[in-house]
């Protein structure tokens, strides 16, 4: 609890320091963490992140350390349940959906609990990896330290992503 409060306080102080900026740093960080399409309409996202680097770096460190929030996890579960429900409706009335037997069998073979587990695993992994990739943009000392320690940890599933983020930060500074 004390660590959570300290993190919130740190983010709050950093945001207060940059409160003259119009850009909502939390929204920018969220955009980066959730964005999965590389060519979006917001080509200037990197620049906006750099312009708010002090605040966003703390958010990215927090995102990597804690992973997604319970609300974000819940949304993933709801999305899995939505598709699962669609498949159950289709299996129940295959003629309405003009389904082949192979399609029906494929839908029946999917287990809801496994789907939830797999989708959550992917989401959490991608979320934390995106936070590290973001630290390659912000490039502050705390972020670089986290990247360096993660890159050096051969047991970490994120060491390759951290190495890539460090390299991308270094190439920007050249």
């Amino acid at each position: 609890m004390a660590r959570a409060l300290a993190a919130v306080l740190a983010v709050g102080l950093a945001m207060a320091a940059g409160c003259g900026r119009r850009v909502n740093a939390i929204e920018l960080a969220k955009d980066w963490l959730m964005r999965t399409c590389t060519v979006g309409e917001r080509a200037g996202l990197d620049d906006e992140i750099r312009a708010n680097a002090a605040v966003i770096e703390l958010l990215f460190i927090d995102a990597f350390t804690k992973g997604p929030s319970d609300d974000e996890r819940r949304e993933v579960i709801q999305s899995v349940e939505h598709v699962w429900t669609l498949m159950q409706l289709q299996v129940a009335e295959p003629e309405v959906y003009n389904l082949s037997q192979a399609e029906i069998d494929a839908m029946k073979s999917i287990s809801l609990s496994e789907e939830k587990t797999w989708e959550l695993e992917l989401f959490e992994y991608n979320y934390r990896a995106a936070a590290l990739a973001g630290l390659g943009i912000t490039g502050g000392p705390a972020g670089k330290n986290l990247l360096a320690s993660t890159a050096a940890d051969s047991d970490s599933p994120f060491n390759s992503v951290a190495t890539e983020a460090l390299a991308s930060n270094a190439s920007r500074q050249r």
Partner: protein, 334 residues
């Protein structure tokens, strides 16, 4: 007769004609499924498009969709239902409710895809084979994507090109590792490299999907590198099925959301073309219209493109025939 009297009479007649001119007529649309006179149970959604706007109706199958007050500016009809390709007709000449416009839903369009494994490991160890779990996830992508595409009346069925979904011999090609950690500026070079080896790293007439370690340092990212033909989508080793379907949407001419030039009622986060989302669920009928009518869509592949709804609501209005707005829905999102 004095010319002034004549002019007054003519003016009065024109005014009377304007008042008496019918505001439009009652019309009907009748739909068959794959040539059969009866469709399976379900609902049909029908969209009429004119420069003045759109009209829509939802009817249970085998009942005519009916509209009143339709004038000759409503020149396009698109109809939607689960299990079939949308029916479409332009340059429509309406005859009245007793003589319905007849349209036919054809079977879903098969969109062939192939997944080429360049580097299946998010840690960048490209010598590692695709794990059984990841293979199962990629196979489920097709099942889940088809469930959404069918339910959303998109009328497309993703299918394994040549009966094969995943090819893992691409890793052996020289320079494959160059693209394992895919950079945003590598699309052009990658397209040249990939298309040099037909059957090893690409197939024509297919949406080619490449599995790499990361895309722009993120294992969950995707990027669509297509420039007309060939169709090339690059995705990271941790990409979810929803992101792959989003990238396929680009191949079908759809652009990322949000778009400041497009009005949108409701929450865009739920739309498959939202570029940052964890809860993609829907396509709009406005998007489905573009998938089938935009010349740049892989389904049409008209080169050079002539018809394109554009990227804004203003562009959509200006086209001939006009396009419905991107956010247009026949059914409210469920």
């Amino acid at each position: 007769m004095h010319w002034r009297t004549c002019a007054s009479i003519i003016a009065a007649m024109l005014a009377l004609a304007a008042v008496l001119r019918p505001a439009g007529r009652d019309v009907a649309v009748r739909l068959n499924c794959a040539g059969a006179t009866q469709c399976p149970a379900g609902f049909h959604g029908v969209l009429l498009v004119s420069k003045a706007g759109i009209r829509k109706d939802i009817r249970s199958a085998n009942n005519d969709a009916t509209f009143s007050g339709i004038d000759n500016t409503y020149t396009q009809v698109m109809a939607f239902r689960t299990g079939y390709k949308p029916a479409y007709e332009k340059d429509v000449v309406w005859k009245g409710a007793s003589d319905p416009l007849r349209l036919n839903f054809e079977n879903r369009v098969r969109l062939n895809i192939r997944i080429w494994v360049i580097c299946p490991d998010s840690k960048g160890d490209c010598d590692k084979p695709l794990t059984a779990k990841r293979e199962a996830q990629l196979k489920r992508f097709v099942t889940k994507a088809n469930a959404v595409l069918d339910s959303e009346t998109v009328g497309i069925q993703l299918a394994e090109a040549g009966g094969v979904l995943i090819s893992d011999n691409a890793t052996t090609r020289s320079a494959a590792s160059t693209y394992a950690k895919f950079k945003i500026d590598q699309c052009s070079a990658f397209a040249t490299w990939a298309t040099k080896a037909q059957g090893v790293t690409w197939l024509p007439e297919v949406v080619n999907i490449y599995l790499v370690s990361t895309v722009r340092a993120k294992p969950g990212n995707g990027i669509n590198c297509s420039r007309g033909v060939p169709q090339l989508i690059v995705v990271g080793a941790g990409t979810t099925w929803g992101t792959i379907l989003h990238e396929v949407g680009h191949s079908l001419s759809l652009q990322d959301l949000p778009n400041p030039d497009v009005a949108w009622d409701g929450d865009q986060l739920d739309n498959f073309m939202r570029s940052e989302s964890r809860q993609r669920k829907y396509f709009t009928e406005g998007e489905i219209y573009r998938i089938y009518q935009n010349d740049v869509s892989f389904l049409k592949g008209v080169d050079p493109p002539n018809f394109y709804c554009g990227s804004s609501d203003a562009d959509a209005d200006k086209q001939d025939p006009p396009c419905p707005k991107l956010q247009e829905r026949v059914w409210p999102e469920r």
